[in-house]
Symmetry: C2
Subunit: 338 residues, 2 copies
Amino acid sequence: MRGAVIHAPGDVRFEQLAEPKIEQPADAIIRTVATCVCGSDLWPYRGLEPIGDPHPMGHEYVGVVEEVGSEVTAVKPGQFVVGSFATSDNTCANCRNGWQSNCLHREFMSTCQAEHVRIPNAQGTLVATPEHPDAGFVPGLLAVSDVMGTGWYAALAAEVKPGSTAVVVGDGAVGLCGVIAAKELGAERIIAMSRHESRQKLATEFGATDIVTERGDEGVAAIKDRTGGIGADAVLECVGTAESMRQALRSARPGGNVGFVGVPHDVRIAGDELFFSHVGLRGGPAPVRRYLPDLIDRVLSGRIDPGRVFDLTLPLEQVAEGYRAMDERRAIKALLTP
Amino acid sequence: MRGAVIHAPGDVRFEQLAEPKIEQPADAIIRTVATCVCGSDLWPYRGLEPIGDPHPMGHEYVGVVEEVGSEVTAVKPGQFVVGSFATSDNTCANCRNGWQSNCLHREFMSTCQAEHVRIPNAQGTLVATPEHPDAGFVPGLLAVSDVMGTGWYAALAAEVKPGSTAVVVGDGAVGLCGVIAAKELGAERIIAMSRHESRQKLATEFGATDIVTERGDEGVAAIKDRTGGIGADAVLECVGTAESMRQALRSARPGGNVGFVGVPHDVRIAGDELFFSHVGLRGGPAPVRRYLPDLIDRVLSGRIDPGRVFDLTLPLEQVAEGYRAMDERRAIKALLTP
């Protein structure tokens, strides 16, 4: 089979690879129906994270089960399934507490930009749809496997409630899905921080009531201006830089909450500033598995359409162009079809 | 009147001071019935915080109202009152959200180790007891004005719930009150980290089910040993050093919470470690005013007795000995009576 391999910054190739095989009794093999490029894939692509030896890429996927290991009873060959970028047995203490992305047997997916994928912990990771979905739902279901699940977690970690004022820092696919989540959770006012016209437009269509283009201290001041001087109830940090985290923390009101889902790069939080702010903070890789049944249902019922974050669709063999388009901000997110 | 003045590290004197006067219409003057020395007073006393010019000390108090400004209707002369170390108008947006210790007109108290005290924002800060309490309740009510209110907030910020496993880092008066709070909020298991026999004993009497004497990595390992390998649901950080914060964060389970109430000194939190831990974090000066009616009731009904953290009572004029005894760990907390 064939799939993407990163060799060096800026160098992603579509290559012949070994066919994945069942290795453990809880594994499954899927035939990929759609996969995509993630904002976090751009960190190594841009040389901001070490790459080491050439290796496959990709952690977002929907597909059809081809084969299952002897312990897998939750899904069967032929079913259309959605998973998560973090696999989970869904039985350990952390999974039972709802933190499947911290499963004691977690493996992060990393070979999904390919025609076939081995899913470890398939028994606890994969959720089948009631039937094979219409093609129009595939992008939305693919989004659920990562960016929509992550935006959902960001909104929950930020404790968005009915009537909340929410701020979304970051206008990538996760931030845009965070707007959807804030809206679904009942936020009355949703302030999206964005400088890109196409993303502003999508944010507004997803439910943003305000757009703020300022950043840094000016961005914080603009949020304060719109929130009676004290800041927002809930802030979704969807970038992961020191500047975006600072902006998020300073945009929340005393007693408000920041949910942070951008993987932090060189972020250090001053204890005394956090202390005197009274802001609550929770982040991490989203426990997508916890939300899968609910989010799949919201997509299939047409209640949400997070698939709209994909503004570029390419054949999988053009995966390198997907990386380029996102790196150059010509695309929000590239969907790849084998 | 007379009160405590700090001149230099280790040098607290009891001196003649100007009588406080009503300065603003929302002020009140109280005659102090009891005050005390706080663990946080030891930071400047030990030379770990700058002192600057000699200045009065003290932020914990109960007393009898002597005089009120023209806007004060909530309390009247002759009433016994309990306040908070942070004053609040109790009407601004932050107060209405329940964050009175972040009141837009907040003033931190700093002159309470004295015979008379001016209370700014008295209208929103002071709560009168139904009648003058018996002497036996005075230490408990004094504790409510800071350490018990702070322990209560720590337990709420750590999201202690019925059935929780809670860890308390720090065996000072706040930590011991945190044990009381965790017990009242329904924690099933309360692990107190303490190396001092008298404090271990009090923690156990307050409801601690386990005592852990190890610190640092060994302390974390001891907590993991007692929590099925994953860590505690709720951790109360009641110290404020980089080491205690690290220990607290690493003692919480994935998805657990740390409430931090020790004023942070040189604490910096690594964003990536916090991210992958999934631990929620909230701290700050406790919004004691929010809890005053409830905590006063719990003390006067005999349900809790946080006054037991005072293991040394001195006449106010011996305030310097109170500092010495706490600095040398001969006392957990010194109560001072004018």
